[in-house]
C-alpha cells in the first residue's frame, strides 16, 4: 500500500465517528431511493405480470341489458383484440356467525369455464359447473376471513330470493387486487362471488343478454376511439358509459400507490444527499486546514496539485461508498419488506422483486457526486495551495466586533456568550447551512406526519360533518318514494333520509366526466353539503351542485352552465346551471334537489337508496332485517368503517412515525454531531485553556454547544415553514379523483417534529460533551497551534 493510502486509511479510522455520521446521512438517502424505487418497480412489475398472465381487460362497460350479439359487434370493432360479456350484480350475503350483512359482488364466468379476460387465478378447488347454479368461487381474502374452504356454504339474497351457495373454489382476480367496501378494504365484509353465466342470467332474467363487458385492445390501440364506439353501441341498452383502466377502482388505487412511491423517491433522497454534501464540505475543509503543513510538504517533495486533490477526493468517495453500501443493503431489505406488505394488503398471487442494477448504479453516482460536490471547494483550494504558503500557519482568523465599541449591550453579556456570537458571525454561511440542515429534519417530519392530521380532518368533515348517516341501504333498482317509510320502520332505525342516484355524463366543451347525480331532499340533515369552510350549504332548488374537484375537472364555477347527459331509462341531454360548489375529500360528486331530479327524469318521485341513523343497541336486529330484504342490493356501513379505519390507521401510524422519526433523527444528529466535532477541533485548544483558567466543564461546553442550541432554535421556525410547503405539495401531489387530503397541520405536529429534532441534537451534543470533558489540559499548553 502506498504511504498516502495508508494515511487515508488512518484518517478514516481516526475520524470514524464523523465518517460514520456522514455515511449514515448518505445511507438514509440511498435507502429511501432504493426502497422507494425498488418497491415501486416491484409493485409495478408484479401488477404488469399479473395483468399479462391473467389477461386483465383494457376497457370496461356496463349496461342494463344488452343482447349477446352486441358482444360480437364490439369484438368486431377495429382495435379490439378480444371481449368477454358478463353479468355482474350486487347481493347481500348472510354469513353464519357474522352479525352484519356482507356485501357480495356477483360476477359471471363462462359456462365452459374458458375465461378469455380477467381470468381467475384459482388457489383451491375448481370453477362452478354449468349444471349447478348454486356452485360459486369466492375470492381468497374473503374465504380466509371466514375460514371458508371448498364445500362450505353461505346465504345470499339474489334478486330478491334467498339462496344457499356452495363454495367449490377459492381464487384471486386481477380485477380485484384492491377493493373497497365502505371506505377501507374489509375482506370480511366484501365477498367476490363468481357464478356460472347460466345461473346468473337465470337469476336476473338476462337470458341471451349481458350487463357488463370487458374488452382487450390490440397492442398500441388507444382506448378513446373504442370507448366512444362502445358507448354508441350500448347506448340503446342502458349503457352507463365505458371506461378504461384509469377509472377501474383496483387499478386506479394501485396507480396512486405507485405515484406515492415515486414522489417519495423524488423528494427524500435529495434532502439527505444535500445535507451529506454539506457535511462533507465541513469535515473536509477542516481536515485540509489542519493538514496545510502536510500538504505543503507533499507539494515540496514533488506531489502535484492533482495528486493532492485526488488524495482527499478518495477520502470522500470512500465515505460515499460506505453510505451506498449501508443504504443500498437497508433499502433492498426494507424494499422487499415493503413489497411483501403490499403483497398482504393488495391481493397478488405472486410477487416479483425488482430493484434493478441501474438503481444501485444511480445510487453510487448520485452519492459520490453529492460528496464530491461538497468536497469541491476545499479540495480545489488544497490543490492550488503553493507549497511555501502551505508551510506557514494560516492567517489568523478574523473576528469582528459584533457591535461598535462602547455599545453598552455587549458589555452586559458574559464573554462566553460573546464568543458564541462571534463564532456565528465569523462563519455566517456555515451557521446558516447548519441551521438549514436541521430545519430540513423538522420539515421532513412536518411534511410527512401532517398526513395524520389531514386524514383526521378528512374523516371529521366527511363522516361527522357531511355524511352523518350510520349506514346506507342501496336498492337493486329505483323504488317509489314510499319505500322510505318502510325503511323508517325497520328495527333500530332512528332516522332515515332518501337519495336518488342517476347515471350521467357531465360535459363542458371537450371536458367530460361520467358520474352519477345524487338527488337529496332539500331539507336533508344526514347527508349534507358543506362548503370549503365546512359550513352547511342548503340544497338550491334549481341547478346542480358540484364538488370542488369535479368543478375543477370540468373547469366550471358557480353560475356557469354544464351539459348533463342523463343515462338511464330517460335519456336526455340538458343544460344545468352550477348553483353551488361544495367541498368533498372522497371521490367526485354532483348533487341536485331530489324533486328537481325526479322532474328532470320525468318520473314519479322515486328513490334508489336510504341513509339511516341506527340505534346502536338494536343494530343486530337491523342487520338481520336487511339480510332478508329482497330489494336491498348492498349496504354501506359508514360508522363501522370509520372505526375500523381509525384502528388500521393507528397500526400503520406506529411504523410510519418510527421510520420518519428515525430518518429525521439521522439528519439532525448528523448535522449537529459533525458541526460540533469540527467546532471542537477548531476551538479545542481555546476551550482547554479556559478549563485551565478555572472554567467548569459545563461552562466550557456551553460555549461550544450553546452555539448549536441557538442554531437549532433558529432551525425550528425555518423547518416549520419548509414543512408546510412540503405538506402543501404532498397534498397537491397525492390528490386523485378518488381521494384528496385537506391540508391540515396541527400545532402538536409542529411541536413533535421540533421535539424529535431537539432530542436528536441534544443527544449528539451529549456525545460531544463527553469529548469536551476529556480535553487534555496540559497538551494545549505545550504546543502552539
Amino acid at each position: 500500500m502506498k504511504a498516502l493510502d495508508r494515511k487515508l486509511l488512518r484518517d478514516l479510522l481516526r475520524l470514524w465517528a464523523q465518517v460514520a455520521a456522514i455515511a449514515l446521512v448518505m445511507a438514509a438517502g440511498v435507502m429511501t431511493l432504493v426502497l422507494a424505487v425498488g418497491a415501486q418497480r416491484s409493485l409495478f412489475e408484479t401488477r404488469e405480470a399479473y395483468y399479462e398472465r391473467n389477461a386483465f381487460a383494457d376497457i370496461f362497460a356496463t349496461a342494463t341489458r344488452a343482447p349477446n350479439r352486441l358482444g360480437d359487434e364490439i369484438a368486431a370493432l377495429p382495435g379490439v383484440a378480444s371481449v368477454e360479456t358478463r353479468i355482474t350484480q350486487n347481493a347481500i350475503l348472510d354469513i353464519e356467525g357474522m352479525a352484519e350483512p356482507a356485501s357480495g359482488m356477483l360476477v359471471s364466468v363462462p359456462d365452459d369455464g374458458e375465461q378469455v379476460l380477467n381470468r381467475l387465478y384459482l388457489r383451491l378447488g375448481r370453477l362452478p359447473a354449468p349444471g349447478h347454479p348454486d356452485e360459486v368461487v369466492v375470492n381468497e381474502p374473503f374465504a380466509n376471513a371466514h375460514g371458508f374452504v371448498p364445500g362450505d356454504t353461505f346465504g345470499a339474497v339474489i334478486n330478491g330470493r334467498k339462496r344457499d351457495l356452495t363454495i367449490v373454489g377459492v381464487a384471486l382476480s386481477p380485477e380485484f387486487i384492491y377493493v373497497v367496501t365502505d371506505l377501507m378494504p374489509d375482506d370480511r365484509r366484501l365477498g367476490l362471488v363468481w357464478m356460472s353465466q347460466t345461473a346468473l342470467s337465470a337469476a336476473f332474467d338476462l337470458d341471451g343478454a349481458f350487463n357488463a363487458i370487458s374488452v382487450k385492445l390490440l397492442r398500441g390501440q388507444s382506448p378513446d376511439v373504442v370507448i366512444d364506439e362502445i358507448d354508441r353501441l350500448l347506448e340503446p341498452y342502458g349503457g352507463r358509459g365505458a371506461h378504461d383502466r384509469e377509472d377501474q377502482q383496483s387499478h386506479a388505487f394501485l396507480d396512486s400507490e405507485l405515484n406515492q412511491l415515486q414522489a417519495m423517491s423524488y423528494v427524500l433522497p435529495p434532502i439527505f444527499l444535500l445535507v451529506a454534501g454539506f457535511l462533507v464540505n465541513m469535515i473536509l475543509s477542516r481536515l485540509i486546514a489542519l493538514e496545510r503543513e502536510q500538504i505543503g510538504l507533499m507539494k515540496a517533495v514533488g506531489y502535484t496539485g492533482a495528486a493532492v486533490a485526488w488524495h482527499y477526493l478518495k477520502l470522500v468517495i470512500v465515505i460515499a461508498l460506505l453510505g451506498v453500501l449501508v443504504g443500498a443493503s437497508a433499502g433492498t431489505l426494507l424494499g422487499r419488506g415493503l413489497t411483501r406488505l403490499y403483497g398482504d394488503f393488495f391481493h397478488f398471487p405472486f410477487l416479483i422483486f425488482r430493484a434493478g442494477v441501474d438503481i444501485y448504479l444511480i445510487a453510487i453516482v448520485v452519492s459520490v457526486s453529492a460528496a464530491m460536490l461538497g468536497a469541491l471547494r476545499s479540495v480545489r483550494a488544497a490543490a492550488a495551495l503553493p507549497p511555501a504558503v502551505a508551510m506557514r500557519p494560516p492567517a489568523p482568523a478574523r473576528y469582528r466586533q459584533l457591535l461598535p465599541d462602547g455599545v453598552p449591550l455587549l458589555s452586559l453579556l458574559p464573554q462566553t456568550t460573546v464568543m458564541i456570537g462571534r463564532n456565528i458571525v465569523r462563519r455566517p454561511l456555515r451557521a446558516l447551512f447548519t441551521s438549514f440542515g436541521m430545519s430540513l429534519s423538522v420539515a421532513m417530519l412536518v411534511g410527512t406526519l401532517f398526513a395524520l392530521d389531514s386524514v383526521d380532518e378528512m374523516i371529521d368533515v366527511t363522516f361527522f360533518g357531511a355524511e352523518r348517516q350510520h349506514a346506507t341501504l342501496s336498492f337493486v333498482h329505483k323504488l317509489p318514494a314510499e319505500a322510505l317509510y318502510e325503511a323508517e320502520r325497520l328495527p333500530g332505525v332512528l332516522a332515515a333520509e332518501p337519495a336518488r342516484m342517476v347515471a350521467a355524463r357531465f360535459r363542458n366543451g371537450h371536458l367530460e366526466r361520467r358520474l352519477a347525480i345524487t338527488g337529496k331532499p332539500g331539507d336533508s340533515t344526514l347527508s349534507r353539503l358543506l362548503d370549503v369552510e365546512g359550513h352547511e350549504v342548503t340544497m338550491p332548488d334549481e341547478g346542480v351542485v358540484l364538488t370542488t374537484a369535479l368543478a375543477g375537472i370540468l373547469d366550471v364555477g358557480r353560475g356557469d352552465t354544464v351539459e348533463v347527459e342523463l343515462m338511464e331509462e330517460h335519456r336526455e341531454t340538458v343544460l344545468l346551471p352550477v348553483s353551488a360548489v361544495v367541498e368533498s375529500y372522497i371521490g367526485l360528486g354532483a348533487y341536485m334537489d331530489m324533486d328537481a331530479l325526479n322532474r328532470l327524469m320525468r318520473e314519479a318521485p322515486s328513490i334508489s337508496a336510504v341513509h339511516v341513523i341506527a340505534d346502536a343497541s338494536r343494530i343486530d336486529e337491523l342487520y338481520d332485517a336487511v339480510k332478508n330484504l329482497p330489494l336491498v342490493g348492498s349496504i354501506t356501513l359508514q360508522r363501522a368503517a370509520v372505526e375500523k379505519f381509525r384502528e388500521t390507521m393507528a397500526e400503520n401510524l406506529i411504523m410510519m412515525v418510527t421510520i420518519y422519526v428515525g430518518l429525521a433523527g439521522i439528519i439532525a444528529f448528523g448535522v449537529v454531531y459533525n458541526g460540533a466535532r469540527i467546532q471542537l477541533s477548531e476551538q479545542g485548544r481555546e476551550l482547554a485553556s479556559l478549563r485551565v483558567l478555572g472554567f467548569t466543564r459545563g461552562e466550557v461546553s456551553w460555549i461550544l454547544l450553546g452555539e448549536f442550541a441557538l442554531l437549532t432554535l433558529l432551525a425550528l421556525p425555518m423547518g416549520w415553514l419548509l414543512g408546510y410547503l412540503m405538506a402543501y405539495s404532498t397534498a397537491e401531489g397525492l390528490a386523485t379523483e378518488l381521494f384528496r387530503l385537506p391540508l391540515v397541520i396541527q400545532r402538536s405536529t409542529y411541536g413533535w417534529a421540533s421535539v424529535v429534532v431537539l432530542v436528536a441534537s441534544a443527544l449528539s451534543a451529549l456525545i460531544v460533551r463527553r469529548r469536551i470533558d476529556r480535553l487534555d489540559l496540559i497538551e494545549v499548553l505545550k504546543t502552539r497551534e
Partner: protein, 237 residues
C-alpha cells in the same frame, strides 16, 4: 513573605506510562513555598519543571506524594474541586499565551473576572500588565507576541490570585519584550503580594527571584537563596 507556606510539597513522584515505556518525570520532590515569594525554576529540558508546575496548578495529578495548598491537600481533589481551586486561587501564564482569538484583549480579561470573586477592573489589569490603552479593544490576531503575553498576564492577575504560575512566559519573546513581561510579573508580586513561580531557561532571570530552584532529572538539585533581588531591567541577556 510572612503568612507561612502557601505550598507544602511532600515526596511527590510522577510517572508517565505510554504503553510499555515508563517515564519518571518527577522522582520525589519535597519543597515548601512561602506566600509572597518570587521563585524561578531552572533546569535542563525534560527535567520535570512543567510537570511540577502543572501539578501545583491543579492541571495534573501525582503518582505518589502530597501537595498542600495552605491546609488543603489538592492532590486529593476531584475534578470539580480542582476546577474551583484554579478558578479561585491560581493564575497561569504560558509560553504560547493561549488567548481566545474571538475575544478582544479586554474581553479576554473579562472572561476571567466574570467568574472571579473580587477581581480588579479588566482595564486596570491590562494597565498593570503594561498593555497600552489603545490596544485594549484589539483581537489577539491584531497584537504582537509581547502584547499578547501581557494580555495573558493581565488575564492571570485580574482575579487577584494568590499564586501566579508562569511556564516559560518569555520563551517566545525577544529579550527587550521579555524584560517588560518580567517587570510586569515583578510588579504583581510586589504590589499584590502574589506568590510567583516562573519557569525559564534563562539563568539571568534567576537574579530577580527570592529563590532559584534548580531542577535536574525529576528532582530538586539545589536551591539558591538571593540576598538581594535585582530589577528585571538590569538583567541582560
Amino acid at each position: 513573605m510572612s503568612d507561612g507556606p502557601i505550598y507544602t510539597i511532600e515526596g511527590i513522584t510522577k510517572v508517565y506510562r505510554t504503553g510499555e515505556v515508563e517515564v519518571h518525570a518527577l522522582r520525589g520532590v519535597d519543597l515548601t513555598i512561602d506566600a509572597g515569594e518570587f521563585i524561578v525554576l531552572l533546569g535542563p529540558s525534560g527535567s520535570g519543571k512543567s510537570t511540577l508546575v502543572n501539578i501545583l496548578g491543579g492541571l495534573d495529578t501525582v503518582t505518589d506524594g502530597k501537595v498542600f495548598f495552605r491546609d488543603e491537600e489538592i492532590t486529593a481533589f476531584g475534578d470539580g474541586e480542582l476546577t474551583k481551586y484554579r478558578r479561585d486561587h491560581v493564575g497561569f501564564v504560558f509560553q504560547f499565551y493561549n488567548l481566545v482569538p474571538s475575544l478582544t484583549a479586554r474581553e479576554n480579561v473579562s472572561l476571567v473576572t466574570e467568574i472571579a470573586h473580587d477581581p480588579m477592573d479588566p482595564g486596570e489589569a491590562l494597565e498593570i500588565a503594561g498593555l497600552p490603552a489603545d490596544r485594549h479593544n484589539h483581537f489577539p490576531a491584531q497584537l504582537s507576541g509581547g502584547e499578547q503575553q501581557r494580555v495573558a498576564i493581565a488575564r492571570a492577575i485580574a482575579k487577584k490570585p494568590e499564586v501566579l504560575l508562569c511556564d516559560e512566559p518569555t520563551g517566545a519573546l525577544d529579550s527587550k519584550t521579555g524584560i517588560r513581561v518580567l517587570e510586569a510579573l515583578a510588579q504583581v508580586n510586589r504590589e499584590l503580594d502574589t506568590t510567583v513561580l516562573v519557569i525559564t531557561h534563562n539563568m539571568a532571570v534567576g537574579r530577580m527571584a527570592d529563590r532559584v530552584i534548580h531542577f535536574a532529572d525529576g528532582s530538586v538539585a539545589r536551591i539558591e537563596q538571593n540576598e538581594k533581588r535585582e530589577a528585571p531591567a538590569s538583567i541582560a541577556w
